[in-house]
Structures are given as C-alpha cells and as structure tokens.
Symmetry: C2
Subunit: 209 residues, 2 copies
C-alpha cells in the first residue's frame, strides 16, 4: 500500500490516522504542496484532481478523496470499525465528517487561499477568510455533537468524525483560531491518547519541517 | 419523511434523485436560500450548519449533509443500490461524488460567492470564480471517469456519482460554463431518461421560479 501525502495536508492526516487504527502500514510518498508537486504530470496521471492524498492498494488500484479512502479501509479491514452499526448514527458520523471535509477544509485550503491572493486581496484578508471559515464551521460541528455522550465525537471509540475533527483543529491553530469549544478539545485529548492519532500528527512525518 | 430543501440547491437535488430512485416519498419543506430562510432560528435548531438539505426520518431523526443522507437511504432502502458491491469500485464512486460535493460545490455556492462580494469584488470576478471552480472540477471528474464503461458514470445503472454530477452540470450552465465533456453529457442524457432524475430537476419543484 502506498499513501501519497504531505505532512501538513489535513486530508492525508485523516488517512494516516485510519491506517494506524486499523494496524495497516503504507509506504508514504511525499508531494510538497507548497512547491506544487501535486501538479506534476506524473502525479496528475495518478490523481487528475491534483489533490492529496491518493492511495494505492496492494493490487495497484488508485483511490482518491480521503473520506472515500477511509471508507474503503473500513470496508476491507473492518476492525476496529470507524462507523457505528446503527444507520442513523452512521449518517450522523458521516455528516460531521462531511461538515469538515466539504464545508470547512476545501473553502480554506492552500488552493483557495492562493486564488484569493491572485485576486489581489491582502494577506490579512486571506488569513481572516480562512479563520472565519474554520470558526463558523467548527461552531456548527460543536453543535452537531451537543447531544452525543462519550469521550470521542460519537461514543467511546473514535469514528470517522474524530478522524476529520482532530486534523481540522490542528489546522485551526495554524490560522490563529482560538479553540473555544470544550467538547472538541476533550475529544481531541481522548484521541491523542491513542498511538494511531499520536503517530499521525504532522510533526512526526518524514517530511515535517 | 421530510426533506428540507430548495429547488435550486444542488445538494437538495441529489437527495431528491435518491428518493425517486428508491421509490420513497418525502414531504418537501422549502427554505428560500436567497432570502436567507436557512438562517432562521427554527432551521438552525434543526441544522446548525444553516445549509440545505436536512432530512427527517419517520422516527423523527434529523440528518444533514446530502451524501450522508443518501448513504442512509441506501443502507435502509437497499434497492436499487447506489453503490457497487466491489470495495474498489465503491471507493471510486464515492471519490467522484466527493470531487463534486467537496471540491466544486462548497467553493462556488451562494455563501462563498457572497463572501467574495462582501470583500468588494465585482460581480464579473465573482461569476468568473464560480465558473473556474466548476470547469476545473468537472475536468477532473471527466478524467476520473475516463476508464469507466457504461451509459452511466459507473456501469449500466446510476450510482451516487451520477446523483452528484447531474445537478452540478445544471449548476454549471447557470454560470455559463460550456459543457465540453462528451462523457458527462452522455451520462446526463442517460440519467434524464429515468423518471427519478426527470422529476428531481429544479424546474419541476413546487418552489421553482
């Protein structure tokens, strides 16, 4: 298995956690996002979106999109499960994951922020854009979790939701967002007790700066 | 079942198609996006993200995020299935759906375009932003489908991927994007032969303008 990623890419980070929880090992191939290495012809042949991560199975199948890769890992290596058994709870876990992966991250990733700079907007405006998107997004995520008991986002074990929230909190701090949601801080602390989460943080990756 | 939506919301449109394919009927509750009705306290109590759609099950459970709602419908009303059986193909279908639902739609939806206007950018710049995001996104989607045979995105029956592509093509036309991808036009034509797709188009909704 090969994971094409980058230490700071929150989407790659989600997949690193999933691999760790499942006890799977993948070779990491690094593509430096700030140097544009995800836009080389070789990588575009692998993933026409030019986004990280991409995942190559032992049979050579190339998979893209972090949530889709994680669901694949969950279907092919079911223990421990990253989704609850009950369909309503599964939908809620996926919704929180998508609230991060659709409505926060793509609106404040490197590509969009560069687009804003290219329109002539100043760095303060660009940074404020990212911070606002993250704050509004995490505010909603916090409310979506309000009725959920347990140390993690949903219950007493990590789910796909935690895999998205923890990297997004890391990203939030990079943009100077104050993490003012005790529920999110608590689940992050619970997650970071686990080796899979500990080993997946950007600072522990081979390309960490 | 209740579907909280809006005729032009592509995310609501995806769920309308899924309901149709499954032969399910939901009461439609309309929230006028341009009038900001998705930001009323009543609706925010239902969906703290203030986004459409939201879905209420017969048991009163509130679900959010279109892809998550559709996976719920697929798990609880399995026929016809909206995902293939093979895990690699499932991952590819989900990846195409997410290429639309994460990387195109949230970066060019009403909320983001309004954010751009609020920064003082002119309407021509705002429209060009949306068109570029859609064009680049659909270009990648087209490449992701290059090796997939069949009338639909993946094979001879519609999947979650088609449910995302068809509304996004409708949205692309609203922003003046020329649909220059024969593969996407062909699958759209195949989909629009089916009553579920025909009946889900914005023009056929009770709130169509």
């Amino acid at each position: 298995m090969i994971l094409h990623g980058y230490f700071r890419s929150t989407a790659s980070w989600r997949v690193r956690i999933a691999l760790g929880l499942k006890g799977l090992k993948a070779v990491q191939v690094i593509h430096h996002l700030r140097k544009g290495e995800q836009r080389t012809p070789d990588y575009l042949a692998l993933n026409p979106q030019g986004l990280l991560p991409a995942f190559v199975t032992d049979d050579g199948a190339v998979l893209t999109q972090s949530l889709s890769i994680i669901e694949y890992l969950d279907e092919t290596s079911p223990a421990p499960s990253l989704l609850p058994a009950d369909p309503v709870q599964r939908a809620r876990v996926r919704a929180v994951a998508q609230a991060v992966a659709c409505d926060i991250h793509p609106v404040q990733n490197l590509k969009v922020l560069q687009r804003l700079r290219d329109l002539g907007l100043g760095e303060d405006v660009v940074q404020a854009w990212a911070a606002t998107v993250i704050e509004e997004g995490l505010d909603a995520v916090d409310k979506l979790l309000a009725d959920q008991p347990g140390a993690f986002a949903f219950g007493d074990a990590p789910t796909l939701a935690d895999l998205c929230i923890v990297p997004q909190l890391g990203n939030a701090r990079r943009f100077g967002v104050e993490i003012r949601w005790p529920r999110l801080l608590a689940l992050e602390a619970a997650c970071l007790e686990l080796p899979a989460f500990k080993n997946a943080v950007p600072g522990k990756q081979p390309d960490a700066e």
